[in-house]
C-alpha cells in the first residue's frame, strides 16, 4: 500500500549492502504511524514522494529536480541549496525540496542527545531524510519547504546552539580528520585548528564576499584521511621536522613476526613472512633507510615523511617531536580548467594558539585572490593564470626549491626591468652607431 509503485527501486532492497530504499520506506511508514502524534510541518508523505520521483528518474534516465533559485535564511548567503521538483502535481510532498547544510562538529563526533534533538527537529520541519554526511563534511538535511527555512534556522540556533554550514561563493564548511582524538599519527590538533578558524571566519562562511567557493581541510598527517590535498583550496597537513623515533625492540618484533605489519591491515591474505627489506626499506621513496646489523637506521635528513615505514610499523616508529603543518593551496575538482591537487606553499609552520601566523597566510592569500580573482575563478585557477611567483609575492614567502617538483624546463623567464642592469630604456641611434641597418 505504498503511495507510488516503485518496482525498480524495490529491486534495490535486495542484496547485502544497506538499502537506502528500505530505509526511506521505513521513514515513510514511521511518519504515517505518527500522524496525530507529530504535527508535521511538511507533508507527511514526503518520503513516499521522494521514492516516487526517484522511480520516475529511473524510468526516464533523467533527474526531476530543478534549479532552486535564491532561497535561504535572512542575512546569510549560504547554508541552503534550493530545489524544486519538475513534477510538483505528481509529487506535492517534494514540490519544494531545499537542502539545509548544518555545520558538522569536528571529527564528526556526536552525542546521541544532540543527534536525537536534530532528528526531532528535522522530523517536525523537514523530510526526515538526511545525508550523514555531505562530501564537504556538513550534515545535509535533505528536503524541506521554503516557509520552514527560517523556522528551522531559528530552532537550530536557539534550541541547539548550532549554526549552518557554507554554500555559494564563500568559505565552505571546513572539515578535519579524526586526528589526535584517536590517531597516533596526528602532528597537530586538527579539531582545535579547524574549530578556531571556523569561528574566526564565520563572516566569510556565511556572507559571500569571494570570487567563488573556498575550502579548508585539516589533515593531521600526510596520510590525508580527509583528502585535503585533493579537495581544498587550502589544505593544512601535519608534518614534522626532526627525527622519526625508533624503538629497536619493536623493529625486531616486526622482523621476528611477533607484531603484525601495518597494524594488521593486510591480515586478510597470507602475504608470507614479513620482510623489512622488501616491505619497508626498498619502498621508502627517498631510499633513506637501511639495516645496521639488526638495527634500523634512518637518514632523517633525506626522509620526505611519506608515512610508509610508520604505517607499516606503528609500534616501532613514531612521528618526530618538532611538529607543525604544511600548507598546500589550490586543490579543486576539474571544472573548468582541469583538476588540481594542492601545491605546496608553506613547507612548515608551527601550530600554536591563537594561530596568528597561520591566519596571516590565509588572509594574505584571500586578499590577493579577492583582488585578482575573476568571478567564479577558484584560487588554483588564479595561481595558474597569474603564476606561482605572484602568489609568493602576495604572501611574502621566499621562493625555495621545496616549492617545485622540478625547475622550469622552458627558459621563458619574464624578467622585471629592475632586475636588468641598465634597465630597458635604450637609444636605438646609439645602437646604430655600431650596427648599421
Amino acid at each position: 500500500m505504498a503511495k507510488h509503485e516503485t518496482p525498480m527501486l524495490d529491486q534495490l532492497e535486495s542484496g547485502p549492502w544497506p538499502s537506502f530504499v528500505s530505509d526511506i520506506k521505513q521513514e515513510a511508514a514511521s511518519r504515517k504511524a505518527k500522524v496525530g502524534k507529530v504535527d508535521f510541518q511538511v507533508p507527511v508523505d514526503c518520503p513516499d514522494d521522494i521514492l516516487g520521483v526517484l522511480e520516475l528518474s529511473y524510468k526516464h534516465g533523467r533527474t526531476h529536480w530543478k534549479h532552486g533559485g535564491i532561497v535561504g535564511v535572512f542575512g546569510y548567503g549560504g547554508g541552503v541549496i534550493g530545489r524544486y521538483c519538475d513534477q510538483p502535481e505528481k509529487f506535492p510532498g517534494v514540490a519544494h525540496f531545499h537542502t539545509i547544510r548544518v555545520n558538522q562538529p569536528g571529527g564528526k563526533f556526536y552525542t546521541t542527545e544532540y543527534l536525537r534533538a536534530l532528528c526531532d527537529l528535522w522530523e517536525l520541519r523537514g523530510s526526515g531524510i538526511t545525508n550523514m554526511h555531505g562530501s564537504t563534511g556538513d550534515i545535509v538535511l535533505l528536503g524541506t519547504h521554503t516557509p520552514q527555512l527560517e523556522e528551522f534556522f531559528f530552532d537550530l540556533t536557539h534550541k541547539m546552539n548550532q549554526d549552518l554550514g557554507g554554500s555559494g561563493s564563500n568559505l565552505r564548511t571546513p572539515s578535519d580528520c579524526i586526528g589526535q582524538a584517536r590517531c597516533e599519527y596526528a602532528c597537530y590538533d586538527t579539531q582545535a585548528l579547524c574549530y578556531a578558524l571556523t569561528m574566526e571566519y564565520q563572516d566569510e562562511l556565511h556572507r559571500p564576499a569571494f570570487p567563488y567557493k573556498f575550502k579548508f581541510k585539516f589533515d593531521g598527517c600526510p596520510n590525508c584521511c580527509v583528502a585535503s590535498i585533493a579537495r581544498s583550496d587550502m589544505s593544512f597537513i601535519g608534518t614534522w621536522k626532526d627525527d622519526i623515533k625508533i624503538n629497536q625492540e619493536a623493529v625486531a618484533a616486526y622482523i621476528g613476526g611477533e607484531l603484525k605489519p601495518n597494524a594488521g591491515a593486510h591480515a586478510g591474505r597470507n602475504w608470507g613472512k614479513f620482510d623489512i627489506a622488501k616491505e619497508v626499506i626498498d619502498l621508502c621513496p627517498s631510499g633513506c633507510m637501511k639495516m645496521d646489523g639488526n638495527k634500523l637506521a634512518i637518514n632523517n635528513r633525506e626522509c620526505t615523511r611519506c608515512m610508509h615505514c610508520i604505517n607499516v610499523m606503528p609500534r616501532a616508529l613514531r612521528i618526530g617531536d618538532d611538529r607543525g603543518l604544511s600548507i598546500l593551496v589550490g586543490a579543486k575538482a576539474p571544472i573548468l580548467d582541469g583538476a588540481q591537487m594542492g601545491s605546496l606553499l608553506v613547507p612548515f609552520i608551527k601550530v600554536e594558539e591563537p594561530y596568528d601566523e597561520i591566519k596571516e597566510v590565509i588572509e594574505k592569500v584571500w586578499d590577493w585572490w579577492m583582488e585578482e580573482g575573476k568571478n567564479r575563478e577558484r584560487l588554483g585557477e588564479l595561481i595558474k593564470r597569474a603564476g606561482f611567483q605572484k602568489l609568493l609575492e602576495a604572501t611574502e614567502i621566499a621562493p625555495m626549491p621545496q616549492h617545485v617538483k622540478e625547475p622550469r624546463s622552458n627558459p621563458y623567464i619574464f624578467w622585471k626591468e629592475e632586475e636588468v642592469e641598465g634597465g630597458w630604456n635604450r637609444d636605438v641611434n646609439e645602437f646604430r652607431k655600431h650596427h648599421q641597418r
Partner: protein, 381 residues
C-alpha cells in the same frame, strides 16, 4: 497541519536572532576516554575487519567498531544508531570521512557484543543495516553525491549505483585481502563533488548531448550573458529566433565544440542536457590521495561510456569487479591501484582488466594533454 512557529518573526527577522555561532565545539562530543587520552595515543591495531583498537600512553584501550551504511539516511535509522550508542557507548559515536559509522567502546568484550548486535540488525527486506568492516587493505564505503535524489545536473544516479556496486564488492568491505586500500567514489556529473578525480576507482556521470535550447523561454529564464560566459569552450553565442512572429533573444550552441560539461545549464535552466541515451557513466581508475610512498595521483579515464542501466547498472559493476580482481591478482603488497598500473604499464592494465582502449581515452583537452602521450621508445607489445 497547524503551522508551528519557532518564535521567528517574519516582520522583524532580527528580533533575537542568533547568527555566526558556528558548529558545536568538538570536545562537547568526545567520549571520556578520548578526552583523557587525546594526543597521547601510542599505536593501533586492526583486530579484525571493522574492529580497531587504539592504545594510549596511559594504557587505556579504545575499541572502535566501524560499520558501513548508506549515507542517505532516515532519522529513524539515526535514532536506531543512537539507541545502540546509548546501550554500548554511553551515548557517543562518530562518523568517518567516508560515511561509515564508528562506535567507540573501552573493552574487547563490549566490542564483541556490539559487533554481534550490529551484524544482527537488518532491514525488513533483508539487507544489512550495519555491516561491520571497511578497514585496512580492503574496500570501504563509497563516497558519493546526490544524483537523481536531489541535484539538477546529474548524468546518473548516486545512491542506486552505489548500492549496486557495494553489493558486488561486499566481500571486500568485510575482508582485508587486497594489496592496499582501494577507494571507490562516485560523482554524478563533471562538477565531481567529492574526490572522484583522485580515487582508485571512480564512477562518474557524464552527458554526451549538447544542451537543448528552450528558445521560447530562454531570455525569460536566464541571464544570457552569464550563460555565454559559463561555457569553457566558448561554444555559446548570442542569437535570435522567431517564435510566433515575435523576435526573441536566445543563444546558439556550436555542438562540435561542446564538451558536455553542463555549466551552461547550471547558469541557465533553459538549456537542459539530460538525456536517457546520452547520459551514462565514465569509469576512472588509478587515483590516490595519500602521500604514502608515491605522491597523490589523479584518476584516469579507463572506460569512456557505460549506459545508465537502472536499477543495477550491471555494466558498471562488472567492469569494477573485473578491475578489483585484476588488481588483487597482480599488485604487490602496499601497492595502490594506480601504482600497480604504472608499474606494469597502462598497456598491460587494459589487457589484464580486459578493457578495450578507445580514442576517447587519449587526452586532447588543452596543452597538458601532450604530457600524457608517450615520449619514449619504451613500451610493451
Amino acid at each position: 497541519m497547524a503551522f508551528i512557529s519557532s518564535g521567528y518573526d517574519p516582520k522583524d527577522p532580527m528580533k533575537n536572532r542568533i547568527t555566526d555561532i558556528g558548529p558545536r565545539k568538538f570536545d562537547e562530543f568526545y567520549p571520556e576516554i578520548v578526552k583523557k587520552n587525546k594526543g597521547k595515543w601510542l599505536y593501533h591495531e586492526i583486530l579484525e575487519p571493522g574492529v580497531l583498537v587504539h592504545v594510549a600512553e596511559s594504557g587505556d584501550e579504545l575499541y572502535t567498531v566501524r560499520c558501513g551504511g548508506a549515507r542517505l539516511m532516515s532519522i529513524s535509522l539515526i535514532r536506531e544508531i543512537c539507541d545502540i550508542a546509548d546501550k554500548y557507548c554511553d551515548g557517543h559515536l562518530r562518523f568517518t570521512t567516508r560515511n561509515n559509522i564508528e562506535f567507540l567502546v573501552d573493552s574487547k568484550e563490549k566490542a564483541a557484543a556490539l559487533k554481534k548486535d550490529l551484524e544482527g540488525r537488518k532491514f525488513a527486506a533483508g539487507s544489512h543495516k550495519f555491516p561491520v568492516g571497511g578497514t585496512g587493505a580492503g574496500i570501504t564505503n563509497i563516497v558519493h553525491t546526490q544524483g537523481w535524489m536531489h541535484c539538477h545536473t546529474p548524468a546518473t544516479d548516486a545512491s542506486g549505483p552505489v548500492k549496486a556496486t557495494m553489493d558486488v564488492l561486499f566481500e571486500d568491505f568485510k575482508s582485508m585481502r587486497l594489496p592496499a586500500h582501494l577507494r571507490v567514489s562516485l560523482a554524478c556529473c563533471l562538477n565531481m563533488c567529492g574526490a572522484v578525480h583522485c580515487s582508485d576507482i571512480a564512477i562518474l556521470g557524464i552527458h554526451r548531448k549538447p544542451p537543448m535550447l528552450d528558445h521560447e523561454y530562454l531570455d525569460k529564464m536566464c541571464e544570457i550573458p552569464l550563460a555565454i560566459a559559463a561555457c569553457p569552450t566558448a561554444a555559446i553565442k548570442p542569437s535570435k529566433v522567431e517564435v510566433g512572429g515575435a523576435k526573441l533573444n536566445t543563444v546558439a550552441v556550436n555542438n562540435e565544440r561542446c564538451m558536455f560539461c553542463g555549466n551552461c545549464y547550471t547558469m541557465c535552466p533553459a538549456m537542459p542536457l539530460a538525456d536517457k541515451e546520452g547520459d551514462g557513466i565514465v569509469i576512472m581508475a588509478g587515483g590516490k590521495v595519500s602521500n604514502r610512498i608515491s605522491a597523490p595521483k589523479f584518476s584516469k579515464v579507463v572506460v569512456a561510456f557505460l549506459p545508465n542501466n537502472a536499477p543495477r547498472w550491471p555494466e558498471t559493476t562488472s567492469v569494477i569487479k573485473r578491475m578489483v580482481e585484476a588488481y588483487a591478482k597482480g599488485a604487490k603488497k602496499y601497492e595502490r591501484l594506480g601504482e600497480w598500473a604504472e608499474r606494469i604499464g597502462w598497456e598491460r592494465f587494459f589487457e589484464v582488466c580486459e578493457l578495450p582502449f578507445t580514442h576517447h581515452l587519449i587526452d586532447d583537452f588543452r596543452d597538458p594533454a601532450y604530457y600524457t602521450w608517450r615520449q619514449t621508445t619504451q613500451f610493451k607489445f
